[in-house]
Amino acid sequence: MAVIIHTEALSKYYGPVVGVENLSLDVEAGEVFGFLGANGSGKTTTIRLLLGLLRPTSGRAAIQGADCWTEGLRARRDVGYLPGETPIYPEMTAAAYLRYLGRIGPRPVSPALLERLLRRFDVSEVDLGRRLRDHSHGMKRKLGIVQALMTEPMLLVLDEPTTGLDPLMIEAFCQTVEELRRDRGVTIFLSSHVLSEVERLCNRVGLIRRGSLASVQTIEDIHMILPRRVTVAFATPVDGATPSIPGVTLVSREPRRWVLDVRGPLAPLVSSLSGLPLRDLEVGRRSLEDYILKLYSE
C-alpha cells in the first residue's frame, strides 16, 4: 500500500510549550485513520503541520511524498480539509461560500456531486440563500463537510467533523465516509472525540498524549488487547475452584455467578466450563473508551 501521510520525528514547539514532539506516523492509501487525544494534546497542531500552516521545529511531514512545508502546493493538491471550527465569511450566503471555495479548489466542482452532498446533509435551497451569519452551528458544520468533500479529494483531513451535528447527520456523515472508502479508496485522517464513531469508521487509531504519539493500533488489535468481561451464570451453586487458564482472571465470584476478564481466545474457557451446570454466558466487549482511559491512566 502506498503511504499517503508520512511524518518523521515531527516536532513543533511554541516557545517552551510542546505542540507535538517526535511524531512518526504513516497512513496508507485507502485507510481511515482515527487520531485521538485529549484537548490540547496536539491533534490540531499535527493537522496544521500537515497542511503547511505551521512550520515544523524539527522533523518532517509529507503528503504523497511531498514535504508539507517546502512543497506545500504539491502536498495540498488533492486534499479536502474540514477545520475544527468552520470558518465563515459572515456576510456571504451559503451558496456563494461554496461557489467561492469551489473556485479556489484543486478542480472544478461537479454540480451533480454537490447536489448529492447537499441533499445528503439536508441543506435546502432556502439554506443556501441565507447569509452564513444567520446559520446555526450545525448548519455551518454541514457546509464545512460539504466544502471538504465537494472537490472529490483523495485525502480528507477532518478535524472533529461531527461536533455539533444531530444524530441523523452523524449517521449521514458516517455513511459518506464508508462510501468514500469503499467506492473511491479515499484516505481519511480523522480527529475525533466521539469514540463510537471512530470505532465504527476507522481501520487504525493513533492516540496522542501531551504531544507525543502514545500508541497506534488497529481497531481489531485494540479489541484483542483489551480483556473481555465474561459473566458466567450457573443453574446450581458451584463450589469448585475456578479454572486456571492463561489469560483468564477472576474479577468476582459468587456461588451461582463468576465474573472473569479474558484476554485472547474464549475457547479454553468455554471448554473448561463444559462439566459445570452452566445457565448463561455473557461476553462483554470493551470499548475504545476503555482503551483510551487505560492508556491515559498509565
Partner: protein, 268 residues
C-alpha cells in the same frame, strides 16, 4: 483562482470603500462650493488677513497660493482629514491577511493548493487598486464640482497638478499600506496591526506639522512619508515630483518585499 481571491477581498471591503469614496468625493464638492463662494464674493484677501500670525508664518508664501480659487480647490487633496482617511483606509485593507489568520479563514484557503505569496499579492493588488479608486473618486468629484458649481470666469486648477497631488496621495497611502501588510505578518490580531499603522501615520503626519513650526524637529522630517507629499510645492510647480515619488516607492517596495518574506515563513 487568483481572481477569485481578489474578488472575495474586494467584496469584503466594498461597503467601507463605498462609504469612504462617497465621503471624500463629497468633501471635494464641498471645497469647490466654499472656493466658489470666496471667488464670487472676492474675499480671498480677507481670508489671508483673518489667518492667525502663526499660520501666516508657517505657510509663508504658500498662503497666497492657498487663498485663490485654484489653490483652495486643490487644498482638498492636502487636507489632513482626506490624507489620513486615504492612508488609514489603505492600512486597513492591507491588514486583511492577519484578519484571515485571526478568524481561521486562512486555514480554509491555504488548505487548498494556493501559494502563500498569493495572499500577499492579492492584498497588495486590492490595497493598491482601492486606493487608486479612492483617488479617482476624488478627481471625478473635483471635476464634477467644478463643472457644476464653479463661478464663470474662475480659473480651474491644471489637470496635471491635481493628478500629481492625487498620485502623491496614492503613493503615500501605498507606503502605509505596505507597512500595514508587514505589520499584519507580525501581529496575531488585525486590530493590533491596524492600530499600530494608524498611530504611526498620525505621528508621522504630526512630525511634519511640528517640524514646520519647531526648528529642532526639522532634521527628522525626512523620516515621514508625508514629507515627500509637499502639497504647496506641487501646486506651485516647484516640487521634485519624480524624486519624491521614487522616494515614496522605495519603502513601499521594501516593506512589501519584507511582508512576502515574513508571510512565507510565519506560523499561521
Amino acid at each position: 483562482m487568483f481572481s477569485a481571491l481578489v474578488m472575495r477581498s474586494l467584496a469584503r471591503t466594498r461597503n467601507l470603500f463605498i462609504v469612504l469614496a462617497a465621503l471624500v468625493a463629497l468633501f471635494q464638492v464641498l471645497i469647490v462650493v466654499v472656493a466658489s463662494s470666496f471667488e464670487t464674493s472676492r474675499s480671498f484677501d480677507a481670508l489671508i488677513a483673518l489667518a492667525p500670525a502663526v499660520v501666516q508664518r508657517s505657510l509663508g508664501s504658500s498662503l497666497g497660493v492657498l487663498a485663490t480659487f485654484t489653490g483652495m480647490v486643490m487644498m482638498a487633496y492636502l487636507h489632513p482629514i482626506v490624507v489620513l482617511t486615504v492612508v488609514q483606509f489603505a492600512a486597513f485593507v492591507a491588514t486583511e491577511p492577519v484578519g484571515e489568520v485571526e478568524t481561521w479563514l486562512v486555514d480554509l484557503v491555504l488548505a487548498r493548493p494556493i501559494a502563500r505569496h498569493w495572499i500577499v499579492t492579492r492584498t497588495l493588488v486590492v490595497t493598491f487598486a482601492l486606493t487608486v479608486a479612492l483617488a479617482v473618486a476624488m478627481l471625478l468629484a473635483t471635476w464634477g464640482g467644478l463643472t457644476l458649481l464653479a463661478p464663470a470666469g474662475a480659473r480651474w486648477p491644471a489637470v496635471s497638478t491635481v493628478v500629481s497631488l492625487a498620485v502623491h496621495l496614492v503613493l503615500v497611502a501605498w507606503c502605509f499600506g505596505a507597512l500595514g501588510l508587514l505589520a499584519a505578518t507580525f501581529a496575531r490580531r488585525r486590530g493590533t496591526a491596524f492600530a499600530f499603522v494608524a498611530v504611526t501615520a498620525v505621528c508621522l503626519y504630526l512630525l511634519i506639522a511640528i517640524a514646520d513650526a519647531w526648528t529642532p524637529a526639522a532634521p527628522f522630517r525626512w523620516i515621514s512619508p508625508f514629507h515627500y507629499f509637499r502639497g504647496f510645492a506641487i501646486i506651485g510647480g516647484t516640487a521634485p515630483t519624480a524624486r519624491n515619488l521614487f522616494v515614496l516607492a522605495v519603502p513601499t517596495v521594501a516593506l512589501s518585499a519584507l511582508a512576502y518574506w515574513r508571510f512565507a515563513r510565519q506560523d499561521l
